[in-house]
Amino acid sequence: MVKLNFDENKCLACETRDCLTKCQYLDMDAEEAGAEMEKIIAGKDSRVLHECRTCYACEEYCPMGNHPFYLIVQRQEELNIPPLPEPIIKQGVQLGIPFRGDPEIEEIGGRVLNMGVFSPLTHLARGKLFEGLTLMSTDSRKMHHFFCQLMYLHFARTSVINERLPAVIDTILAYKPTEVVHFHDECYGAYTSYAPAFGIEVPFKSIHLFEHLYHRLLELKDQIRPLNYKVAYQRPCSSRLSPDGHAYVDKIFDLVGVKHVEREYVDENALCCGSTILSQRQEGSRRYCLELQKKNIADMKQAGAELCIFNCPACMQTIGKQVAENGIMPIWMSDLCRMAIGEKPD
């Protein structure tokens, strides 16, 4: 039975209401936050359901280890308050439908790398850092079989995730992996946060890409030459589901000899790339998204960043060009690590 494991009592007992009071997009004090959360828990309409930007951050803000974001999204679906226009939701839901045959699966019996739906980006997973990892989902025609579906949180469609995720887990399991390194935060979050929260069994061990990169860099430490760049990091929304993976960002930066610039919109206070906000139904979302992006990039610039490090393909696609136009080089985390050991990214 797939059911959100949300502890109402914990939530009602919360004094800080960090989930909503820390939200960067809702202006709310603790009293109002409490009242709105009570409505949401009771399955009633709340302004939160209409104004949520679906940035995932409240999952991280919650001091009780509860799942406020999953609850909000579930209620949006139940009460038919879609954050996005219907054609965008339909497009997104159809995006995850496999249509070019089944993948050819061979038992690996070792560590595997899961590119998720991003198998066209396998060039990012080359070189010494990825030695010993067997790539699954290398065929871009079959990538949807590995799509973790978590994107549908932005679409208020937990029903789609719950319906499809078990089959994706079965596909990965068929490789008989001992451990699965997930290239994308979204996949890692799906198997280590979302699935447990909904009682979906995940019978394999998941490892965040950054954890893998960090340990490989340690093994190759004698080959590291400090890069000496000043860098900013564009934290993706799904990283909010895996603060343990995010903790490796600064550890990696230290190892490869780059300075993580001090800025306002960093770590818990990071700003969304705007990818989903652009299309939302709330009035003025497009311009709001632009303002957000400008604010984010201006902050990187002001902090003196020379590079902006990305791990999420959606973030890269959404603001990579703007970042570059502002004189900051967008670069993938895996490429940064490869450069540090003297490899030339593809």
Binding site: P82, L84, P85, E86, P87, I88, K90, Q91, G92, Q94, L95, I97, F99, L278, S279, R281, E283, G284, S285, R286, R287, L290, K321, E325
Partner: protein, 452 residues
Amino acid sequence: MDSIYKALVDIVGEDYVSNQKEELFTYSKDLGTSEPQWPNYVAAPKTADEVSRIVKLANEQNVAVVPLGGGMSLAGLALPLKGGIEMDLKRMDRILELNVKDRYVLLEAGTSQGKLTAYLHRHAPNLMHSEPGAPPAATIGGNLAIHGQGDLGHPYGFNSDMINGLEVVLPTGEICRFGSCALGNDWYTMHPLPDVSLFMGWSGSTGIITKVSLRLFPCKKINEQDIFLLEDEELVPEVLYELTHVGMAEDMMVVSQEIPPPFNRLHYVMVNIAGDTRDELEFKRQLMFDGKLAEYIKDGRGGIGAAGMDIERPVISKTSDWRKGGGFEYVGAIVPVTSYPQCYRHGVEVSARHGIPYTTLGRVLGTGHSMMFSWTFAFNRADEDTVRHSREALHETDEAVLKMGGTLWKPAVFGQKLVMKQMDEGTLQVMKKVKHMLDPNGIMNPGNWEVA
């Protein structure tokens, strides 16, 4: 030795003529569903004078001449239906004059679209021509001969409305010029002399275009594509009406296709915009999305699918990949924009009936004055049954277009006959007189636009 072959060798040189089967084979094929048609000779002239001499030879010998550009029409329009000489014009590809200040380029008609685009990028990056969705090997002359459209279709209409002058070799061999160049002036305008240019839309059956003065238009520094998504096809015409009202786009297309799934039963309104600065682009976006389309977003009927993407032409040839053996052909029609819903539904219905994933595309022409709508049907070249299904779907669509009040664009012979059957008798007689006057021996691309 064959006397026609020898005469062709005298005209173009031995390297540029052939009557060998292995070379004729290539010219017997079309990329669409047409059956192969074999020429007796292929000749590749370099100059208008050589073209003229070949045409005169054809008249003397009473053999057909079929001009060939890039061979990309898919409708078999350059197949030698009655044998004869296939005249490959791709050697006539010199760019003769670039006039930046007066915004035109004079070139030989065999110049490919890709070559012109590359040339302009290098020599006049602030100018562009309206490049069609065809592969870059499509030629300028071939596109004009079929009334093609391109990526400036919204502001400026058909590509054949973007010419400042023409040089044509008539079916009897005379070389004529039209426009200001006919007075010995520069090639800066087609109008206002009496209109005697009778070569567009005839698929090369009234003459061979050898030189073209093509209008060039401002090419802004930043070119991007935004996408507006709709689910209800009935909303497409009104959204296009709103978008064309603000006139901010360079090109507007609407794509819907069964594969890949994100396109299925959805309508991607692809809006290409350009600006010299980010502010200019943002101004245009505000007028379109924050003004005209805001209500659709708010009530959830439409949404911004993407913004600021690099421009990618919808490549309908990709649909040939939906089956093994990659083949495709499409019916194109010029229809009122308000016909979009009906056209789309026909595409879904006829494709399903023939077991083909549907693919439809509409491109706005002018300020919403009309739309080029295409229905693409994929087939497996190695499977005659799928070819037959595609052919039948094409023919049924030709018929449906006319029933819907549409006008077939670059129709194959089957469609040409349907058009002429429905055509006003007076118009038909004028076509007949024009054809007979210009081509008394009926040697020029025979089988096309033949009025009974």
